[in-house]
């Protein structure tokens, strides 16, 4: 089983704060891994470090065996990694169509992926000319995920997709992510354990800037005490 992503013992500082103190994560190709942990543990920072937005000061990050730590974010993205940040981060002053257009890395990307994207998120087709700012939270989240599907990405980093969304929307989102995970690898950050357990095959627990525990989701589901200890109320 090859590993599409290997994060080896990274240390990341924000200002003088030592946020990540030796985090290690692996994502097997073609699977979905979830980062679990309490608020402020360092999950978002881990994604940002992989993406190069807050580069690690120590440690290595390998993408398909190639080192990407220290590279500029746009270079890392071009290698085939898509980032769906917390709070959507879609462009509110741009239309849905423009939001998708700007994600193109090669001419014609959107034309090729259109059908697949609208199959996953039929609402977007209807809203195509609206400004991003006029969409509901759920629609924005779908746009953010759709945007990461436009270019030829092999790995998606998705940060808290279910946050602030109504249950019915979450169901739709989960179905979409499950479908796209058939052709992509996913590294997910998710506080909602129900969503996480349905989507991911593997987990890594991030606690106080470290990664003390990891394993398969099936094993984690059996261990109630573990769930309570690291995740609070499940």
């Amino acid at each position: 089983m090859s590993l599409i992503l290997e994060v080896e013992n990274i240390h990341t500082f924000i200002g003088q704060f030592h946020i990540l103190q030796g985090v290690s994560v692996t994502v097997p190709a073609g699977s979905t891994t979830v980062l679990l942990g309490r608020n402020g543990a360092g999950k978002t920072t881990t994604l940002k470090s992989i993406m190069g937005l807050t580069p690690p000061r120590k440690g290595r990050v390998l993408f398909n065996g190639k080192p990407i730590h220290g590279l500029r974010p746009h270079t890392i993205a071009q290698m085939g990694i898509g980032y769906v940040p917390e709070h959507r981060a879609i462009f509110k002053e741009l239309t849905v169509h423009e939001n998708l257009q700007i994600a193109e890395r090669k001419a014609g990307d959107l034309a090729r992926k259109e059908d697949f994207i609208f199959e996953l998120f039929p609402d977007l087709k209807r809203l195509i000319t609206l400004n991003g700012g006029n969409l509901s939270g759920g629609q924005q989240q779908m746009l953010a995920v759709a945007r990461a599907l436009v270019p030829d990405n092999h790995l998606l980093l998705i940060d808290e997709p279910s946050e602030g969304l109504a249950p019915v929307i979450i169901e739709h989102l989960m179905a979409a992510i499950t479908k796209l995970a058939e052709s992509l690898s996913v590294l997910l950050v998710e506080q909602n354990f129900r969503v996480a357990s349905k989507l991911a095959q593997n987990y890594v627990i991030i606690e106080e800037g470290q990664s003390p525990l990891s394993g398969t989701m099936t094993d984690l589901m059996k261990d109630e005490s573990l769930i309570h200890r690291y995740l609070g109320v499940a």
Binding site: R72, A89, L94, I102
Partner: protein, 334 residues
């Protein structure tokens, strides 16, 4: 910015412009006089737009208030003056005896020098400082001062008034028993063309898309695989080139003097704050308003002891905006 506040802003802008026109009209002795004031206002507004557009977009995109924009305007005026007239650093009077032909070259020279200095500033000086925004502001301030000193060294402190007459500059037409300068009309028309042209570029080209997205969230644009830093350099260079262009085409009327730097900068700042930082439409409308306001003040100040009124009008506007609505007409409160 949602549609209702945008509509409110447009209404407010319309009201302000209407008030300004009314004041100008009541102050004018004749229709011809009124026309002159309006034309002068549009003329100055266009020149302001050339400086302010760069200021606004650069600030929205890069979070840097480029205080050197005014100095580029000044530099453009000096380069154009130098190329056009006899003597100076570049003397083309023998090579190209026809002043009408020399002028486009003068303007081109100004654009090249402005753009060149812009690249140097952005790549050489600003890039190392992206992590320290406080120092970036201080740096652009220092650069503007150094540019003024360089100008003084090359061209002395004596201001130059444009002496070379040439066709377009000197021609005029008569309307309402008043002489209107064709040149001013030409500049205003070209200004409008630029406003629309740049606006179209922003809306329909990929670069424009990236710039609009970058103004909102530069980090996300990077995460999408786009090299924002190259875009920064491009935008910065265009901004400085356009500002220098403004100085060059203003020179036949305003001449070249070292005070152009500070005055154009402060006026441009007033425009950008009034229109809303980072808003292209806001900058366009703001330029019109400030230009008109200065022209009205100039007309009102003739013959009175408030000779300084036109110079301090933009600052008064700035203070007013900061007191009432700091995000400007079309800006988003950030």
């Amino acid at each position: 910015m949602n549609t209702s506040s945008r509509q409110n802003a447009l209404v407010a802008a319309g009201v302000i412009i209407a008030v300004l026109l009314l004041v100008a009209y009541s102050n004018s002795s004749s229709m011809g006089n009124f026309g002159i004031t309006v034309l002068s206002g549009l003329f100055q507004g266009m020149l302001l737009f050339l400086v302010a557009s760069g200021l606004s977009i650069i600030f929205g995109l890069m979070d840097v208030l480029n205080l050197a924009q005014g100095a580029y305007f000044m530099m453009g005026a000096y380069v154009a003056y130098d190329v056009q007239h006899v003597g100076g650093v570049v003397d083309l009077t023998q090579v190209i005896p026809d002043p009408n032909l020399r002028f486009p070259l003068a303007v081109l020279g100004a654009i090249l020098v402005g753009g060149g200095l812009g690249i140097i500033l952005e790549r050489g000086l600003l890039r190392p400082l992206y992590s320290r925004p406080v120092f970036q502001l201080v740096l652009t301030f220092g650069v503007s001062l150094v540019m003024i000193e360089i100008v003084k060294l090359i061209w002395t402190t004596t201001p130059y008034s444009w002496t070379e007459g040439f066709g377009v500059r000197d021609s005029f037409f008569i309307l309402f028993d008043q002489r209107f300068s064709t040149y001013r009309i030409f500049v205003v028309a070209m200004g409008f063309a630029l406003i629309i042209g740049i606006g179209l570029l922003l809306r329909y080209s990929r670069i424009g898309l990236i710039i609009r997205a970058g103004v909102e969230d530069g980090e996300m644009v990077q995460a999408l695989g786009i090299n924002v830093r190259a875009i920064f350099t491009l935008v910065f260079t265009l901004g400085s080139a356009i500002a220098a262009f403004g100085g060059a085409i203003a020179a036949p009327f305003l001449g070249a003097s070292t005070t152009l730097g500070a005055s154009s900068l402060l006026q441009a700042i007033a425009v950008v704050v009034l229109g809303g930082m980072g808003s292209y439409g806001g900058t366009a409308i703001g330029s019109l308003m400030v230009g008109l306001a200065i022209s009205v003040a100039q007309a009102a100040a003739i013959g009175t002891e408030f000779a300084a009124l036109p110079s301090i009008t933009p600052m008064l506007l700035l203070i007013l905006v900061l007191l009432l609505r700091p995000s400007g007409l079309f800006g988003t409160a950030r």
